[in-house]
C-alpha cells in the first residue's frame, strides 16, 4: 500500500527502534508532525522551546545511553537553529540523526520563504548528510543515516526532506534495524608491537578518552593497570569510564586536569592511549608533550593516528578487541619506583588542593558544593554540565559511579548545551539527572525550563552563580591584567528563584554549605525541576591550569588574590 513520505519517515524511525524524538514543528514539517500525531502511541515527541534545545536533548539522550538521538526541525531558521547542536555532537563523536523539512523541490534555489541550504551549511559538521529529492530514496536514506551515525567513529547525520517528498505517495516495506557496521580488528602485528612496548615499560600511564568511555571497559582497564603496575588518567571526554574508588586512577589530565595526572603523564615512559585524540586542551604545547614517552594509540578512526601527536604504535579498528588482546598477552610486573613517584605526585596534589581550600574565605566554595553533591546524589545519577568554570570543577571533583553518567560538551565547548542535554539524558535513562551550570551558560538556553516542566522531566539544576563569566574572567585576571571586558553580569539583576517559579519550576537559593545541602536534598527528593541559585564568589579559580599553548612546566597551581 502506498503511504505518504511523512508517514514513511515516522514509520522508518519506529522501525529503527526510535521511541523518543525532540523537535519543533513548522511549515515544512507539518506533514511529519501529522504522522507523529497518528503514531503517538509508539513515538514520544518532546516539544522543546527552541530547536537548539532539541538538538542538545537528542545529543544528551545519546550520550547517556549510546542510542542514536533524533531531532526534527522545520526548514530555514528551524534548521539553522540545529547547527550548534549538530556541531557539538560532531566534535564529541555522538550519534545523532537530524531530520529537517525543506521547501518543495519546485521552490528550491529560488530563495523561497524559509528556504535554506541546510545540507550545504552542515557539510563540515556532519559525518554525512542527505538531501532527499526523490520519494523512492527516502526510507533508505534514513536507514543509511542511522547506520552511518552509529558505525565506526559515531557522529551526526542530517536528512533534509523537501515538502513535496513528504506528501508524495510511495510503497513502504518495514525494514530491519540498520546494522552497526563492525570495525575491522586491529592488525596482529601492531598488537604484538604494542605488547612488546607494554612489557618494556617501567613507567606506564593508561590514558582513556571519549572513544573508550562508552565501551564499558572500566573494570578491565583497572585490571590491566593492576597487572602491569600502571597508573590511569583520562581526557575530559574519558571521565566516568573508570568507576570511582580506584587508587590507580589519577583523574583528568590537561589544561585543568589533576596535577598528579598531568605530571605523571609527562614523566611516563609509555602512554597507552585508548580512544583519545590528543586534543590541544589535553596536550598543551604539542612539541613539548610527553617527550620522554612512547605512545600507543588505539582508535577506531584511522585519521586520528598521527594527527595531533606522532605515535610509536597505532592500532586502528575495534578498540575493545585490541585492548583485550594486549591486556591478555602482556606480562605481569611490578614498577615499584614508578608507583612511589605517582604517590609522591598525589601527595603534592593534595597539598595544593588543601592550600586552595584553605585560602578560600568565601561562604560557599566550589569544592564544598561538590562535596555535598557527591555525598547526596543517588547512585547512577547523570551529571550534565554547561561550559565554563563549573564544568571544569565538575570534571575535577565529581565522583562518577558508572560510565555514561557524565554528559558535557567537550570538543566544541558549547555554552547553553546543558539544559537541553539534561532533558535528553533524563528522558533516556529515567535516572536522577543533575545539571551543573553557571549563570552565563544557563542564560543562553534557560527557555528549556518550559520543556522540563511541561513534559514532567525533572532536572535538578545547580546554578553556580558568581555574577561573572568566570572562565573568561579567570583568563582576564591571569593574562589580561585584570581588564574585565564584558564579563561582569552583575547588572543583569535576574532573580533565578523567581525565574524558576515563573516557569512553573521550584526555585531555591543557597549562600552557604548548610543551605546548599538542604536545597540539594530537597530538590532530589521533590521529583520536580528545581533551580538552586548557588551563590559563589566571583574570584574563585579553576586550578591547576596549564596556560593555553603552554607546557607542563608552565602549570599554575596558585594565584595571589
Amino acid at each position: 500500500m502506498k503511504i505518504t513520505g511523512a508517514e514513511i519517515i515516522i514509520r522508518t524511525l519506529i522501525e529503527q527502534g526510535v521511541t523518543d524524538v525532540f523537535g519543533y514543528p513548522g511549515g515544512q514539517v507539518i506533514n511529519i508532525y501529522d504522522a507523529i500525531y497518528k503514531h503517538s502511541d509508539k513515538i514520544n515527541h518532546i516539544l522543546t522551546a527552541h530547536e537548539q534545545g532539541a538538538a542538545h536533548a537528542a545529543d544528551g539522550y545519546s550520550r547517556a545511553t549510546g542510542k542514536v538521538g533524533v531531532c526534527i526541525a522545520t526548514s530555514g531558521p528551524g534548521a539553522t537553529n540545529l547547527v550548534t547542536g549538530i556541531a557539538t555532537a560532531m566534535l564529541d563523536s555522538i550519534p545523532l540523526v537530524a531530520i529537517t523539512g525543506n521547501v518543495p523541490c519546485s521552490l528550491i534555489g529560488k530563495d523561497s520563504f524559509q528556504e535554506i541550504d541546510i545540507t550545504g551549511i552542515t557539510l563540515p559538521i556532519t559525518k554525512h548528510n542527505y538531501f532527499v529529492n526523490k520519494i523512492e530514496d527516502l526510507a533508505d536514506s534514513i536507514r543509511e543515516a542511522f547506520s552511518i551515525a552509529k558505525s565506526g567513529r559515531p557522529g551526526p547525520v542530517l536528512v533534509d526532506v523537501p515538502k513535496d517528498v513528504q506528501t508524495a505517495l510511495y510503497d513502504y516495506e518495514e525494514g530491519e534495524i540498520a546494522p552497526k557496521i563492525p570495525l575491522p580488528l586491529g592488525e596482529d602485528e601492531k598488537i604484538a608491537e604494542a605488547i612488546a612496548l607494554v612489557n618494556e615499560a617501567k613507567r606506564p600511564y593508561i590514558y582513556i578518552g571519549g572513544g573508550a568511555a562508552g565501551l564499558g571497559l572500566g573494570d578491565e582497564i583497572v585490571e590491566l593497570a593492576n597487572k602491569i603496575d600502571a597508573c590511569i588518567g583520562c581526557s575530559f571526554m574519558g571521565l566516568s569510564a573508570i568507576p570511582d574508588g580506584c587508587d590507580r586512577f589519577l583523574g583528568m589530565q590537561g589544561m585543568h586536569g589533576h596535577y598528579a595526572s598531568s605530571m605523571a603523564q609527562n614523566e611516563a615512559d609509555l602512554i597507552i592511549g585508548i580512544g583519545v585524540r590528543f586534543s590541544d586542551r589535553a596536550t598543551g604545547n604539542v612539541s613539548k608533550f610527553a617527550k620522554r614517552s612512547k605512545i600507543i594509540q588505539l582508535d577506531p578512526d584511522f585519521s586520528e593516528i598521527n594527527k595531533n601527536v606522532k605515535v610509536d604504535c597505532c592500532i586502528v579498528g575495534d578498540v575493545s578487541h585490541s585492548f583485550r588482546e594486549i591486556a591478555k598477552a602482556c606480562e605481569k610486573k611490578s614498577n615499584k619506583e614508578w608507583i612511589e613517584r605517582v604517590e609522591e605526585l598525589k601527595a603534592d596534589e593534595a597539598k595544593f588542593e588543601k592550600e586552595i581550600a584553605d585560602s578560600s574565605t568565601a561562604q560557599l566554595s566550589p569544592k564544598k558544593v561538590f562535596d555535598v553533591i557527591n555525598a547526596s546524589k543517588p547512585r547512577n545519577t547523570v551529571i550534565v554540565t554547561d561550559v565554563g568554570q563549573h564544568q571544569m570543577w565538575t570534571a575535577q571533583y565529581v565522583k562518577f559511579d558508572s560510565t555514561r553518567r557524565f554528559v558535557s560538551s567537550g570538543g566544541l565547548g558549547t555554552m547553553g548545551f546543558g539544559l537541553g542535554a539534561a532533558i535528553g539524558a533524563r528522558v533516556a535513562t529515567g535516572d536522577t539527572t543533575v545539571l551543573i551550570t553557571g549563570d552565563g551558560s544557563f542564560g543562553m538556553n534557560l527557555n528549556e525550563l518550559a520543556t522540563a516542566v511541561s513534559h514532567n522531566i525533572p532536572v535538578v539544576i545547580v546554578l553556580m552563580n558568581n555574577g561573572v563569566l568566570g572562565m573568561v574572567r579567570q583568563w582576564q585576571t591571569l593574562f589580561f591584567g585584570g581588564r574585565y571586558s564584558n564579563t561582569v553580569l552583575g547588572a543583569r539583576q535576574t532573580d533565578f528563584v523567581k525565574l524558576a517559579e515563573a516557569f512553573g519550576a521550584l526555585g531555591y537559593r543557597a549562600h552557604n554549605e548548610a543551605e546548599f545541602k538542604d536545597a540539594f536534598e530537597k530538590a532530589i527528593a521533590s521529583g520536580k525541576t528545581v533551580v538552586i541559585d548557588t551563590i559563589i564568589d566571583k574570584d574563585e579559580f579553576v586550578l591547576p591550569m596549564l596556560p593555553p599553548g603552554g607546557a607542563i612546566d608552565d602549570i599554575i597551581t596558585k594565584v595571589e588574590k
Binding site: G120, P124, H128, D301, S303, I305, N306
Partner: protein, 165 residues
C-alpha cells in the same frame, strides 16, 4: 610538478554534490589544491577526481585519511611518480608578421595545434605533461599572451592495473 608535489586519484559516487563534499573538506582542513579535474569513468556509478597538490609526508597522510572518511569516497590512491599525466591548454597569443613564423615553429616543435586564427592573434591547443605546458607558456610570454586556460591534469598509472586492484 612543484616540490613535494603529488597526484591523488579518487573514485567517488557519481552523485549530485559529491565534488562539494571533497573540496569543502580540503578547505576545512587547510589543504591547498594546485589543480583538480573530475569526469566520468569506465564505471557509470563513479566519477574520478584527479587532484594535484603539494605537501610533506604529514599532509599527504592526513589528506588521504580525511578523504577516505567521506561517505561518497570509494577509493583513494596517491599515484606513482612515473604515472602518465596529461593536461590540455588553450592559449591565445598576439602575432605580427615578424613573430608569426617563430610562433608557428614553436607550435610545431611542441606538437601543438593552431585552432583559431585572426588578423592579429591565434589560439593554440597544447596537450602533454604539465612540465611541457609550463615550458610552452614560457616560450609564448615574449609574444604577448592574451588569455589562456589549463584543464589541470588527468593521470593514470602505467600497466594493466586499476585503482581497484
Amino acid at each position: 610538478m612543484k616540490k613535494n608535489g603529488f597526484v591523488i586519484a579518487v573514485y567517488v559516487d557519481n552523485k549530485f554534490g559529491v565534488l562539494t563534499r571533497v573540496t569543502s573538506m580540503f578547505t576545512r582542513r587547510g589543504f591547498n589544491i594546485d589543480a583538480l579535474t573530475v569526469g566520468e569513468t569506465e564505471r557509470s556509478e563513479y566519477s574520478r577526481i584527479t587532484i594535484s597538490l603539494s605537501g610533506d609526508g604529514y599532509a599527504r597522510e592526513q589528506l588521504i585519511n580525511q578523504l577516505r572518511k567521506l561517505h561518497n569516497v570509494k577509493k583513494v590512491d596517491v599515484l606513482q611518480d612515473d604515472c602518465i599525466k596529461r593536461e590540455l591548454m588553450l592559449l591565445k597569443v598576439k602575432y605580427t608578421t615578424e613573430t608569426r613564423a617563430d610562433i608557428l615553429a614553436a607550435t610545431d616543435v611542441y606538437r601543438a595545434k593552431v585552432i583559431d586564427y585572426t588578423t592579429d592573434e591565434m589560439c593554440i591547443e597544447v596537450t602533454g605533461d604539465p612540465t611541457k605546458i609550463d615550458a610552452f607558456i614560457k616560450l609564448m610570454i615574449p609574444f604577448g599572451i592574451i588569455e589562456m586556460c589549463r584543464t589541470g591534469i588527468v593521470a593514470l598509472e602505467r600497466g594493466n592495473t586499476t585503482l581497484f586492484d
